[in-house]
Every structure is written in C-alpha cells, then in structure tokens.
C-alpha cells in the first residue's frame, strides 16, 4: 500500500535555533498519528511544515495525490498546493477564530470551501451546510448566526464542519481540544473519533494532552527539543515508555 503522506528528513531552523530536525515518517490511509511533546518541542513547527504553511530548510513531504500519484508537496506549484489545501487537506486550528471567518454566518463558513472549488448553486450549498451542521451537532436554526454568537465548543465544531465539507483525505489538527473545558472536550473527541472512522480520514493530531492521543491516535510520535525521541503504537508508547522524556511525560499526567 502506498503511504498517503511521507515525510523525509524535515528540518526547519529559526535563525540559529532548531525548530524541528530531521523528522521522517509514513502515514497510511485511514491512520491517525499523534504528535506529543512539551511547549517548544517543535510539534507545531513540524505541522506547519507538513501543511505547507512554513517552508522547511530541508526535506520532502510526499503526498499521494488523487490524479498524479505521490508528489513532493514542497516542490508543487503554489496554485496546485493551495488547491490541495482546499480539497484533499484540512487544517483545524487550536483557536477556532483562526480557522473561521468571524464576519460571516455559520452557513457561509461551511459553504466557503464548496464555493472555492466551484459550487454555484445556492440551494445545494445551503443543503450541504445544513447537513454538516447536523453532523457536528449544531442546530439547523443557527445556520444564519455568526460564529461570534457561538460558544467555544460550538466554534470548534463549526471549524471542523467547515474543513470536512469537501471530503478531505488528510486532516491536520493543532491542539483541537485546547482551551475547552473537559466535558466539551470529551464530546468533541467523541465526535472527531466518529467522523474519522466514518469517513476513513487520515489525520495528524498535534497535542500536549495524552488523553487526546489515547482516544484518537493509532500511532504516536514523541518530540523533544525539535527531534523525535520515540515513536510507535499509541498503547505501546503510553503503557511502556522507553525514552526518559516519554516516561516523565506519561508519569506527569494527573490521576483523578
């Protein structure tokens, strides 16, 4: 089977400082990979490099495109990369405000991606938007409200609907549950898990919350100081951590 996404030797420096160094991995279709580590360990830098928001100093990101097979995303033309960003890829930001258009209604937020790929029938766009709001448990009568009128959890769910409406194959998530209270977090995770399974999505989830990766991720990479210190199946890494830092990370989780 061809991996959906392959990273090869990704390196990004910020001046003299290392953002992330020599990261390589394969992600197969339908697989969810978690990236954990403390603040400043380079996990968000890595995600930005993968998603094409930052250009790394060295390395390749090879994505298995629908039309042309595996291609190096970093060497693609900009229109092709941005097209990928609107169709096959999705990016869920930690702060919903970064990923939403706050000035337009929820329906327009969901419909934007559809219109960006050429949908020009208002009735169809609205129908799909209503359908997706239902799937992320937002009441249909909120479709014309602006996201400012939504709670934090609803904004995050709206952001997810907006990203998944074009049926992407790969989702990047940067701390999807950050800043939400625990009961809302639990529902969001439940929803995400359902959607990932139902749509057969591949996902890369960056988080510092081990509970999130335990629930969502099949595989896990642990980062520290810009480098991957340990990688493996989620249960394996969390239940039998080998590297000193992973052991520290696992043992620092508060037990209630």
């Amino acid at each position: 089977m061809t991996p959906l996404l392959q990273a090869r030797g990704l390196t990004k420096h910020y001046g003299a400082r290392l953002g992330c160094g020599n990261v390589s991995f394969d992600l197969y279709p339908g697989e969810v990979m978690g990236i954990v580590g403390e603040s400043g360990s380079g996990k968000s830098t890595l995600l930005s490099c993968l998603a094409g928001h930052l250009s790394p100093d060295a390395g390749e990101v090879i994505f298995d495109t629908r039309d042309h097979g595996p291609q190096d995303v970093l060497r693609m033309s900009e229109p092709a990369r941005r097209m990928l960003g609107r169709t096959d890829w999705a990016f869920v930001h930690q702060n919903a405000r970064d990923g939403l258009r706050m000035g337009v209604s929820a329906g327009a937020n969901v419909g934007e991606r559809l219109m960006a790929v050429g949908a020009r029938h208002y009735g169809d766009i609205r129908e799909q938007a209503t359908d997706w709001l239902g799937r992320v448990e937002i009441a249909a009568d909120r479709i014309d409200d602006r996201p400012r009128a939504f709670s934090g959890g609803m904004q995050q769910r709206l952001q997810i609907a907006r990203n998944l409406v074009t049926g992407p194959r790969l989702v990047f998530m940067d701390e999807p549950t950050g800043g939400l209270d625990v009961s809302v977090q639990a529902r969001l995770l439940d929803l995400l898990r359902g959607l990932v399974r139902e749509m057969g999505l591949s996902a890369i989830v960056v988080t510092h919350d081990l509970a999130v990766v335990r629930l969502l991720a099949d595989r896990l990479m642990v980062m520290k100081g810009g480098a991957v210190v340990e990688a493996g199946l989620t249960d394996q890494v969390l239940d039998d951590p080998q590297h000193g830092y992973t052991q520290l990370l696992v043992s620092s989780v508060l037990q209630v």
Binding site: R101, V104, G111, M115, Y122, G123, I125
Partner: protein, 290 residues
C-alpha cells in the same frame, strides 16, 4: 476651444506624470480588469472627490476633446461642476452636458443612459478598487487571490446576502468577472448599470488614494457574478420618471415634503432633459408645458 490658464501645464499635470499614467492605462487595457499600480499625485482637491478620475482624465485629454462630467448621473452637482471648471481652466477644452457630444466623460457612480459609441472614453472615479477588500483585509493575500484566480470568497458575500435577505441585496459596486479572468469592482455604480459595462467605449477606472488604475477595452466580456438558482438581476425602482415618464431609466427617489410625498426622477439629468425637450411628460410635469 478657449485658451487654458498659462500658469498651468495643459490639463494641470506635468508631461512626465501624464506619460506615467498613460503607461499604466495601456497596461490596464492590455489586461482587462487587472489593477495596475501607479504613482498617484497630490491633486488640488481632497481624496474621495475623484482624484483618481481627474488624473486619468488629465492623461487622456487633448485640446480637441469635449468633456462631460457627471456625478451620480447629474451634470449640475458640486463635484461635477468643480471638476468641469477645473479642466476648463487648466486645459481650456470644450465642455458639454450632452452625452452624445462628449469625447471624454468623467463619471462618479453612474453610466449615462444614452448608449456610448466607439471613440468615446468613460472615466470612473473609484473609491475602493479591490473587490475583495471587505472579505479579506490583507492586501498581500488579495493580490495572491487575484493571481491564482481564487474567487470563491466573492460568492461567500453573495451567499450571505441571500441567507439574510432572501435575495442578492448588493445593489451597487456589484462584482463582475472580466473576460472570464479577473474579478473587478465596477466602482459604486448601481447594479442596474452593470449590463452597460459591455460597451463600445473605452472605460477607464482611476483610484487616486489607493493608487490603482484598471480598464475595460471596448466590447470586452463582463459577467456579473451570481448563483445558478439566484441569477443576476439589474434592478431599479419600480416606477416611471415623474418628469419625463421614462420607464426604463435609473431613478432617484426625492422626498418632496414632510407628509410622505415623494417623486421619482431620472438620475441621468441629460437624458431626462432630452426626453422632456422631445415632448415626453411624466406624472408631475407642469400642466402648461407645451
């Protein structure tokens, strides 16, 4: 032709500036709908009064030209009168109020009702040239969106209109796509005028404060954006002109008393005058008029 004030260069601007603007105009005509940056000059009037249009007009004028200036369709409003006097003094060109007589027409917010013909130049004053401005505030990003033809966002605005008002409620500055490529803001003309953008005349757009020039060459294809199930409609007030009886021209609503009285009149004063002289009458025409 009268002589212009000898203290000024012909049409106020110096020759080098006019050359610079003409180069921008030629580029704009070669790439219809594309916003060409130009080094806009300080003009002896405030920004927002048509500094862009005045510079474009100055660069186009020749001593043989006949100039018409309109503001919201009218030849006799402050803005139109001031700009007309400005060019009478600095360029000494002939002026007219009749659309058919003019070779250069500077306009604000309207296209004349009388169809324009080959050889005429229509110059628009543009406040905000960027159609995506209120949807995407970053100029770097909007330029990239133009370059990559990413115009989905424009439809988001139209979607919002329908979602909140049941129809596309954008009534002026209605976005158009030019020759299937660039999305362009036609300046704040009513959407009633959008079909007239496909014209035999050269149409030039000047934005002074924003330092942009764009253009539509004659007979260029201009499509108003819409949805398949909510097609574009060139709407106007559902009345006849109360002075000339015209049912097809764009109307201004005028409040005439404090008891709810109102009248509708053609916004194009030259067109209305022409019809009245031709014997057409409206609801409020004086009885004794022959």
């Amino acid at each position: 032709m009268t002589l212009h004030d000898p203290n000024y260069n012909f049409a106020y601007l110096d020759e080098q500036t006019k050359r610079m603007i003409r180069r921008a105009l030629l580029k704009a005509l070669a790439i219809p709908g594309y916003q060409v940056p130009f080094a806009s000059r300080e003009m002896p009037m405030p920004y927002g009064w048509g500094t862009g249009g005045v510079q474009v007009t100055a660069a186009c004028l020749t001593p043989e030209d006949t100039l018409k200036v309109i503001d919201q369709g009218a030849d006799d409003t402050t803005n139109a009168v001031s700009i007309r006097k400005f060019f009478q003094r600095t360029a000494g060109v002939a002026v007219t109020e009749q659309t058919a007589q003019a070779s250069v027409i500077q306009t604000r917010h309207r296209i004349p009702e009388t169809p324009l013909i080959e050889g005429q130049i229509l110059v628009y004053q543009v406040p905000i040239p960027e159609p995506l401005r209120f949807l995407e505030p970053r100029e770097t990003e909007t330029r990239r969106m133009h370059a990559l033809e990413e115009y989905g966002l424009m439809h988001v605005k139209l979607y919002e209109d329908i979602a909140h008002n049941g129809e596309i409620s954008t009534a002026y500055a209605y976005p158009v796509k030019v020759e299937g490529r660039y999305v362009m803001d036609p300046s704040p003309i009513p959407k009633f005028d959008n079909p007239k953008l496909e014209s035999a005349a050269i149409q030039l757009f000047g934005a002074g404060r924003e330092q942009r020039i764009y253009a539509l060459p004659p007979y260029c294809r201009v499509t108003s954006l819409d949805f398949e199930d909510h097609p574009f409609e060139a709407s106007k007030a559902d009345h006849d002109c109360d002075l000339c009886g015209c049912a097809t021209s764009y109307l201004d609503e005028v409040i005439v008393d404090d008891a709810g009285g109102r009248m509708f009149v053609c916004s194009d004063t030259d067109f209305c005058t022409g019809r009245r002289e031709g014997g057409h009458r409206g609801r409020l025409s004086p009885e004794d008029m022959a």
